[in-house]
């Protein structure tokens, strides 16, 4: 079966089993290895991508269901020499990343969250991270970085509609 969709803004065509998990196509056919396949069960969040702007696990997404959709991976969040997404910049600034395995998924989940929840509280940020497991950091620095990011956006007056890429 042929499936066509937008991948990081470009046309993408896949010929094969429509039940192939999207993560495998991203990594093995498109070499977009930022998206990680860790648990393959929806629990860890390392494979999170945006499908039509929603942050979802790509390990449980059969490619047949993304026909006609827009898929964004961590590689598409800010291209090449473009400025990093404010969340990525903040993670870097506060040295939040350790081994980095969880971070592409973390950024994809949280970038959608800060976009939709510009006034999020600390408990709300934590609740939004329930599906992204990090084995290194203990989470607090990540939560700090997200809270800072929202603060900065508020101060810069980017409140309406939250933070955009």
């Amino acid at each position: 079966m042929t499936v066509t969709f937008q991948l990081n803004g470009e046309d993408c065509r896949f010929d094969g089993d429509p039940m192939t998990p999207l993560v495998d196509i991203l990594r093995q056919e498109r070499f977009l290895t930022g998206t990680k396949a860790v648990c393959r069960e929806g629990f860890c969040g390392a494979c999170t991508v945006h499908v039509d702007d929603e942050a979802v696990p790509s390990c449980l997404k059969p490619v047949g269901l993304v026909q006609g959709c827009a898929v964004t991976t961590i590689e598409g969040l800010s291209f090449g020499s473009q400025a990093l997404h404010p969340l990525q910049a903040n993670f870097e600034a506060v040295d939040a990343v350790q081994c980095g395995m969880c971070f592409p998924g973390m950024v994809m989940s949280l970038s959608a969250f800060v976009r939709d929840n510009p006034h999020a509280s600390r408990p709300e940020i934590k609740a939004a991270m329930a599906g992204n497991i990090c084995r290194c950091t203990g989470y607090e620095r990540i939560v700090d970085a997200v809270a800072d990011c929202l603060d900065q956006a508020r101060k810069a007056g980017q409140l309406v509609g939250g933070i955009h890429v």
């Binding site: 696990p57 997404k61 269901l65 599906g131």
Partner: protein
């Protein structure tokens, strides 16, 4: 990646198209969050699937003054948003907003949650049991409407020739609550779930999920509460009754043993009644 497989995949745009595929042997694919893990359970993915996400009638929540209709392809996230603030549906909203994790909730559907056979920890099952929901199916013989208890009991047989299309709810509740006990908060399955609701006649309905293989109403406790001297919702008293009338056979499982699932029920009931008492319609 798996070697290329010739698999039939139909993205139906009408129920008729979906039923035609079903008659040809296609399995229903909703969000895929259960089915995509079949290979990890040692089960092959179906050779033919029919996806429901393009059928508009199955993807909407209709809220009327006296009833609500939920399409089977509505996701947990959409259900939680749609019913937020609707009096009497606090428990159902809590179930939709707290099951799994945010990414799964954006994908997993109401139909998938009720139709994942052998999944004991479905949050929506007890929440819909206390709503006394009716489940609408499209079968090879035509449409069929049945109570959720009967649906849950008979779903193995029923689903062999059917698609769940809609869930119908009456708006006869004044308050409800949904209490779940996961071991962590990282999206793991709840060890036990207690859903409670109070209807307009002040009758309390209680259902339990994840303790036995299939969620069910706790009729022994409901009757004991009704037999009390004067109807009064009291967390301590209800927990005592729950201890006395605990007729559950806890199932074993990865997250917890059966005795534990059974033993946590009275404290969960206590929390549930306390939550009910804080809910708009009763506070």
């Amino acid at each position: 990646m798996a070697p290329s497989v010739e698999r039939s995949f139909t993205a139906a745009s009408t129920l008729e198209e979906a039923m035609a595929a079903r008659r040809q042997g296609a399995a229903v694919l909703a969000g895929g969050t259960w089915m995509m893990r079949d290979p990890r359970r040692g089960v092959d993915l179906p050779e033919a699937v029919v996806a429901l996400h393009r059928i508009p009638a199955l993807s909407k929540v209709e809220i009327e003054p006296d009833h609500v209709v939920i399409g089977a392809a509505v996701t947990h996230a959409v259900l939680g948003r749609a019913l937020h603030g609707a009096v009497g549906f606090e428990g159902l909203v809590a179930a939709a907003e707290n099951a799994a994790n945010p990414g799964i909730r954006k994908v997993a559907t109401v139909g998938g949650n009720l139709c994942a056979l052998d999944f004991a920890a479905a949050d929506l099952a007890p929440a819909l049991l206390v709503c006394e929901a009716a489940v609408e199916l499209e079968t090879f013989e035509g449409p069929k409407l049945l109570g959720i208890s009967d649906f849950l009991k008979d779903r193995h047989a029923l689903l062999a020739e059917a698609i769940v299309t809609r869930i119908h709810l009456r708006r006869d509740l004044v308050a409800s609550a949904h209490i779940r006990l996961p071991l962590r908060k990282a999206g793991d399955y709840p060890v036990a779930i207690v859903s409670l609701a109070v209807d307009k006649d002040k009758r309390c309905r209680i259902a339990v999920g994840s303790v036995e293989p299939v969620a069910r109403r706790w009729t022994a406790l409901e009757q004991a509460m009704r037999a009390g001297p004067a109807y009064a919702l009291d967390p301590e008293r209800t927990a005592e009754l729950a201890l006395e009338h605990n007729d559950f056979q806890g199932r074993g499982g990865k997250e917890a043993e059966g005795w534990y699932r059974r033993q946590v029920l009275p404290p969960l009931v206590k929390r549930g009644v306390a939550a009910l008492l804080k809910t708009g319609g009763l506070a």
